[in-house]
Subunit: 364 residues, 2 copies
C-alpha cells in the first residue's frame, strides 16, 4: 500500500521538535507510529485511502495530527481528478477521511475548513484548486506548530521549580504537526528550568506513553520515568506528583474533556490528592456545538488490542475485552485549559466562549 | 532446576476449584503461573531454593498460596538433614523462604507456625520432624480451601441479583491453596444466582487479571470481560459496575490494606461513584503488629517488567520504570472485609480485634 523509508529526514534531536507529517518530493509522508520506538518507518501516502487507513490503524494519531493529515489527504485525493469530477470526488474524499475516527473534533474541523478553500477555488479547475488546498494545508501545518509553541509559553508559567509532572498517553510532537500540546507545555516548562522530571503513564492498551512519549522525552533530553497506568494512585499517595498535563481529543462547550482512556481516572486521583490537573489543547479542539461531555461520541476499538500483544495471546482464547478508546473528564476536575490564547479557567462556559471569540481563524 | 510436566492431574474444570500447589509422589509441585494462560507447566520443587525462586519470580503468587508453598518448602528443605544439623538447617531454610517477598504477611505467618511444629518435634529426629511438618502443611493446605469456602458463603450474601462485579489482579484458586479469596466470593455469588458478570482488570505489568483471573473464570463458566486498568473510571462513570471485590496481601490493624498495585486507584474511583468496595482475605492476612498501612513494606520490582513485554522492548532503551508491586488502600475506602469468620465492618480497629479473637488457629 505504500513505500517505506527508514530515514527520518525532517528531524534532528537538537531541534526540540520534529513533525510526524511531512510533505516532500511533492507527496505526503506519515511516520508510522505503530512501529515506534523500535523502528522509524515512514509511509508514503499516494492515495487518500492510505491516509484514511493510517488514521484508522493509528499510524498517525492525536487530534491535531489527524486534522493536519486529513488536510493533506484532501490534496492527495483531488490530484489528477478531471475538472468535471471535482465536486463528486471532493465529497468522496471528505467522507472517506471524516469517517475514520469519531471522537477527535479536529478531524472534521480541518475538513470543513478544507471545504471552504475548495469552494473558493473549484471554479479555477483541478490544478489551481489542488494548489490552493496544498498551500492551505501547509499553513495549517505551520500554524499548528506555532499554536503549540504559544500554548507552551502560556502553560510554562503554571509550573514551579522542581515540579514532577505526570502526563498520560502521548500529546507530543507525534500527536500534532510538531512540538506537541501537553508535551509542548512540559518542554517549555523544562526549558524554563522548572520541570524536573516527567512521569509517563504507559497508557494501555497501545502504550502511547511508554512507546511514544518516552521516545520523545528521550530525544528531548527531559528526565522521565515510565509507570503503569495503575501506579498513578500510589505515586500521588506518596506525594511524588506535583502537576498533571494531558492533551484532549474534544472539549465540550462546558469544559468537559474527552481524552485517551484513563485520563478520567488520573483526574479523579488528582482531585483526591489536590494535584492540579491541566488540559493542553488548541482552541480547534473545542467543539462549541457539543454542550457537555455526555454528547461526545466515544470510539470503541477491537477487543484484540487488549487481549493480544505483539501477536501473543495474553488472555485465554475465549476472553473478550471492552475497549473504550477515550473517556470524559468532567470540567470540575480540571484546574485550567491551556490554549494558544491563554490558560482558560472555570467557569469554562464563559472562558471558552471568550477564547473562541479571541482565537484567530487559521489560514483558510 | 526442576522437571516439568504438562498434565495437571489434580484439577478438573467441573470441580469449581483446583489447587496450584500439589503434593504428589512424595514431592512438591507448583503450577508455573508465569506460563498461563498459554501452557500449564508444573515445577517439581525438590529443593527449598526451587520453592524460593518460584515465589520470587511469581511462578507461585498470591498471599495464601505463598504461605502454603512456604510450609511445604520447610518440609522439602529439612528432608534428609542429619539430626545434629536440624536446628541450623531449619534457620537456613526459614531465612531463604522468608526473604523472598516482603509484602505478603501470610508468608511469615506460615513460617512462624512451622517453627512451632518444628520446635515441638525436633527432639524426635529428622524423620519424625519432617513427617510432623508435612502433616501440618497438608492441614494448612486444606484449611486454606475451607477458609475460602467460608469466605465465599459470607461474601455471597453481599451481592444483589444481576450484579456486575469488578476484581483486580488474581485472588482466585491460583493465588491460594484452592477456590480463591475474591474469586471464591464471586464464585459463591455466581452459584447463588446473583453475580451476572465479572469485569476483569488486566493488572499491569504482569497481567494477572487478563492472564490468570480470565483463565479461572473461563474454566468456571462465569461470564467475564477483560478491561485495561485505566478503563475502570469509564466503566464506573457509565454505571457498568455494581460491586468490587479484591484480595489482600496484608491488612493492618486499622483495616488499611496492601494489595496489587492499582487497587488503591479502583477504591478511589469506587468512592467517587458510590460503588461498594470489598476486600476478601483470610484472617491470616491481617497483621495485628502493623498498626496502619504506612508501616507496610512495599516491594519494588524490576523496571523490565514494565518496559519489556514477552522479550520485546516497549519503551526506548534508555527508559526506566518505577515499578511498585503493591499499593495501600486506606480503610475509609473499604465497605467491608470478607473473612472466614464473617464480614468485618468499620470501625475496623474494633471489628479486626474481635475477628482475630474469634478466628480459630489452624493446625499447628
Amino acid at each position: 500500500m505504500s513505500e517505506k523509508n527508514e530515514t527520518n529526514p525532517g528531524s534532528s534531536p537538537s531541534e526540540k521538535t520534529f513533525s510526524p507529517i511531512e510533505w516532500r518530493d511533492d507527496g505526503l509522508w506519515l511516520l508510522d507510529q505503530t512501529q515506534l520506538p523500535g523502528r522509524e518507518v515512514w509511509l508514503e501516502c499516494d492515495r487518500p485511502e492510505v491516509v484514511a487507513e493510517a488514521i484508522r490503524r493509528l499510524s498517525v494519531r492525536g487530534a491535531p495530527a489527524i486534522g493536519v493529515s486529513a488536510a493533506y489527504g484532501l490534496v492527495v485525493g483531488l490530484r489528477g481528478t478531471p475538472s468535471e469530477d471535482l465536486e463528486r470526488r471532493f465529497e468522496e474524499v471528505y467522507e472517506l477521511l471524516a469517517t475514520t475516527r469519531p471522537t477527535a473534533v479536529n478531524l472534521r474541523w480541518a475538513l470543513d475548513r478544507g471545504r471552504r478553500v475548495f469552494e473558493r477555488h473549484r471554479g479555477e479547475g483541478t490544478e489551481a484548486t489542488v494548489a490552493a488546498l496544498l498551500e492551505w494545508a501547509h499553513g495549517l501545518h505551520s500554524a499548528d506548530v506555532e499554536t503549540n509553541r504559544r500554548m507552551g509559553a502560556h502553560g510554562s508559567a503554571l509550573f514551579h521549580p522542581g515540579d514532577r509532572v505526570l502526563t498520560h498517553c502521548n500529546a507530543g510532537a507525534l500527536a500534532t504537526a510538531g512540538y506537541g500540546t501537553a508535551v509542548g507545555v512540559i518542554t517549555a516548562g523544562f526549558d524554563a528550568g522548572k520541570v524536573a522530571q516527567v512521569w509517563v503513564d504507559e497508557t494501555r492498551p497501545l502504550l502511547q506513553g511508554s512507546r511514544l512519549t518516552a521516545w520523545e522525552l528521550d530525544r528531548l533530553g527531559i528526565p522521565f520515568r515510565v509507570v503503569t497506568d495503575s501506579s498513578v494512585g500510589a505515586l500521588m499517595s506518596r506525594e511524588m506528583v506535583d502537576r498533571i498535563v494531558v492533551g484532549a481529543d474534544r472539549i465540550a462547550a462546558n469544559g468537559d474533556t474527552a481524552n485517551k482512556i484513563g485520563t478520567y481516572t488520573v483526574a479523579v486521583l488528582a482531585a483526591r490528592h489536590r494535584v492540579p490537573f491541566y488540559v493542553a489543547a488548541p482552541t480547534s479542539t473545542i467543539d462549541p456545538d457539543t454542550a457537555t461531555g455526555n454528547e461526545i461520541p466515544i470510539e470503541v476499538r477491537d477487543s484484540d488490542e487488549v487481549t493480544r500483544f505483539h501477536g501473543v495471546e495474553v488472555s485465554p482464547a475465549a476472553a473478550e475485552a471492552q475497549n473504550f478508546a477515550f473517556d470524559v473528564t468532567p470540567h470540575e476536575l480540571i484546574a485550567g485549559i491551556i490554549t494558544e490564547v491563554g490558560v482558560l479557567e472555570p467557569p469554562y462556559v464563559d472562558s471558552i466562549r471568550d477564547a473562541l471569540g479571541r482565537a484567530q481563524e487559521p489560514t483558510g
